[in-house]
Symmetry: C2
Subunit: 172 residues, 2 copies
DNA sequence: CGCTATTGAGTTGTGCACAACTTAATTGCG
DNA sequence: CGCAATTAAGTTGTGCACAACTCAATAGCG
């Protein structure tokens, strides 16, 4: 994992440098802008597509997991989605209010709450089959490109997740 | 945790379909998951890195634009960042409370509010030069990979932004 | 067994994104 | 000129993400 980056020491001595500190700030801007913009653009498309299902994007993600795995405790759901109870609890309450899931305390472990799609929640799956096709159309990418992009993003996520424990962020 | 999932069509058997509707839902999950996860992971790293600057990630983006362009009306700021006044107004108010920017009505057009970094805001730029290096280190990517990824994401964003006007979402 | 540490949900508070709306200033057309 | 349409900020309300916390149940150790 080498960053060819690390070698150019920034700035203060000047003329010959290819990238003074201020340029770094601009380059950095490009990267974070792009990821952020793509994420929000995606969100916007999902918002439109999911509108007639009555779901938000995060709610859709929860339903995807439930459709695939069936009943799950909140904890497991959070592991699949990388979300904690602080986010999931209110979200699941809204899904329950919408009649799409039921929540009930586990008998074997009273701490655990099991989330289960209702009949209505399962029925929604049929209507949701249209969603991926519409999203795919909106991206304008073919399957290979999508998979390639996914691979790169997953690698990036894995690298970023490992941050905070190693010395990468230490000043010196 | 890699999902090589897409290949096995576990199925409902079927005629010659390689991807029944339920598999589409799973594949779709992979794509949106990846982008969403990467975006949030990135955000998490920025949160750590920006902590001692006292900035959130969106606030940092605003400061980047102001460092590059100097004084700007809220409108222009929003165009650079793809954000509207509903997001920017409270954010700028917090930046002003932190002493990093000043907001003042334009004399020539009373509707417009110009945002200008204060001395303190400009001074912060020096400390911020550390940020891109730390982020780059966290990604574990070299410059070429980053730029390639950026290109792909920008193309994706452009495609997604064009959604809603064309027939892409129509059932058929 | 009893007690402490851990675990799973939920709550609270902050900040962001976005839709829908309000308000005030400016534009521009008849 | 006069007035309707447009424009720039700001406000309100909803929902998500996350940190920090509470609370109850369970696990596990002496």
């Amino acid at each position: 994992m080498h960053n060819s980056i690390a070698r150019e020491n920034r700035s203060d001595t000047l003329e010959g440098m290819t990238t003074p500190a201020t340029d770094w700030l601009r380059l950095d801007q490009q990267i974070c802008f792009s990821l952020n913009a793509a994420s929000r653009a995606f969100n916007g498309v999902y918002r439109v597509v999911l509108k007639d299902l009555g779901l938000t994007y995060p709610q859709y993600l929860v339903m995807l997991v439930l459709w695939e795995h069936g009943e799950l405790p909140v904890k497991k759901l959070g592991e699949h989605l990388r979300l904690d109870s602080g986010t999931l609890s209110p979200l699941l309450k809204r899904l329950e209010a919408a009649g799409l899931v039921r929540r009930e305390r586990s008998a074997s472990d009273e701490r655990s709450v099991r989330v289960r799609p209702t009949g209505e929640g399962l029925a929604l799956r049929e209507r949701a089959t249209e969603v991926p096709r519409r999203i795919a159309a909106a991206t304008g990418l073919d399957l290979a490109e999508v998979q390639d992009l996914r691979t790169r993003l997953d690698r990036l996520t894995a690298a970023l997740d490992g941050y905070g424990t190693d010395a990468a962020g230490a000043p010196s």
